[in-house]
């Protein structure tokens, strides 16, 4: 379980997170939604231990994120891989850091995602790069999977493949996935729980199905309303 207790984080004068109290449910897929600058990426970085809060605590399974690093697979928004590497080299590089790498799963995902090991990362299309990032993350049997804008700027067919891959390999109950995305409509039937962030604060959180039942609206419309009310 991942908990934020009174977490605040600023970068210079920009407040990214403002005394946030939130829990990310275990064994579920949580959608982290909100406009640009809401604090989504910052939250994921705090969970993955790449950054530390200025105030408050991030607690993963009762401990500091430092101890959970090996259990977390993080897919950042930026292209973090070396462009001169081909997929095989990138896989070898990533797998050397993590004991939960599953070589068979890697091979199987390669073919499912129509990727070729010889492809050089700097030379492939945006969609193929997005799929490669996903491949390198999900070839690990990690307990926590953090995805920062995995669908951004990607064509519809590739997006579908990415979502299919996530559903196929999701170990419900055991694995926890957090997806930060603008494409809320695309992930309506994917997420169990949702957290709406705006300017560093939680506007709304809850179970997707319960919100639909209570309000008779889609997550997209619920979010629009939440932001309209906040302004």
């Amino acid at each position: 379980m991942i908990e934020f207790k009174g977490v605040s984080k600023s970068f210079g004068r920009t407040v990214a997170l403002d005394a946030v109290d939130v829990t990310f449910a275990t064994g579920k897929i949580t959608g982290l939604f909100g406009p640009n600058g809401a604090g989504k990426s910052t939250s994921l970085k705090l969970i993955s231990g790449l950054n530390r809060p200025d105030r408050g605590e991030v607690i993963i399974d009762g401990r500091d994120p430092f101890y959970s690093k090996v259990q977390i697979a993080y897919l950042p928004e930026i292209d973090h891989l070396y462009p001169w590497m081909n997929i095989r080299q990138a896989a070898s590089f990533v797998s050397s850091f993590y004991g939960d790498w599953d070589q068979e799963r890697y091979r199987e995902l390669l073919s499912f995602l129509n990727l070729d090991e010889e492809m050089k990362l700097g030379k492939i299309s945006k969609g193929q790069r997005a799929k490669t990032k996903l491949l390198l993350c999900t070839a690990r049997r990690s307990k926590y999977l953090l995805l920062d804008e995995p669908l951004s700027g990607i064509d519809i067919l590739t997006r579908e493949q990415i979502i299919q891959t996530l559903i196929r390999d999701f170990r419900e109950g055991e694995q926890s996935i957090i997806i930060s995305t603008h494409e809320i409509a695309e992930v309506e039937s994917l997420v169990d729980e949702v957290i709406f962030l705006d300017r560093g604060q939680v506007r709304l959180q809850g179970e997707a199905e319960q919100l639909r039942e209570d309000r008779g609206m889609s997550l997209v419309d619920i979010m629009k309303e939440a932001f309209r009310n906040a302004n």
């Binding site: 579920k28 109950g173 199905e209």
Partner: protein, 128 residues
């Protein structure tokens, strides 16, 4: 499989299965996809599918046999009551909607008969 995002998805999964049972597309003893298969086919969260399947079992519409899969276990009386329940739901919302448009109940009945009548006539024209 497209779901209406404004209503709970697990409920729609249940309704889809109910409809297939009422229409006879799924019959007593037929095997339905495993939860994982259904989740992949419909591009839905496996937790949501699990909830729907659990509810279908609670309603005694399906049963899961360990190692074999999930099978339709519906009885004719159940079929009848589900059919009845769904008809009420569809007609109920139709009546509510028509009322909200300002039609009174007699107008709704007349219009319904008219439209069904038109269809019947069209069918007999086809036969000529």
């Amino acid at each position: 499989m497209d779901f209406d995002p404004a209503r709970p998805i697990y409920q729609q999964i249940i309704d889809n299965f109910k409809k297939m049972m009422i229409r006879g597309e799924l019959r007593q003893g037929d095997k339905i996809p495993s939860q994982r298969e259904y989740a992949e086919m419909s591009k839905t969260n496996p937790n949501t599918v699990q909830r729907a399947y659990r509810e279908l079992e609670n309603l005694n519409l399906v049963e899961t046999l360990r190692g074999q899969g999930t099978f339709v276990s519906i009885h004719p009386e159940q079929l009848e009551s589900i059919r009845d329940e769904m008809a009420s739901a569809v007609l109920g919302s139709c009546i509510i909607e028509m009322r909200s448009l300002g039609f009174n109940d007699k107008e709704v009945r007349d219009r319904l008969e008219q439209m069904q009548g038109v269809k019947k006539e069209a069918a007999s024209d086809d036969r000529i």
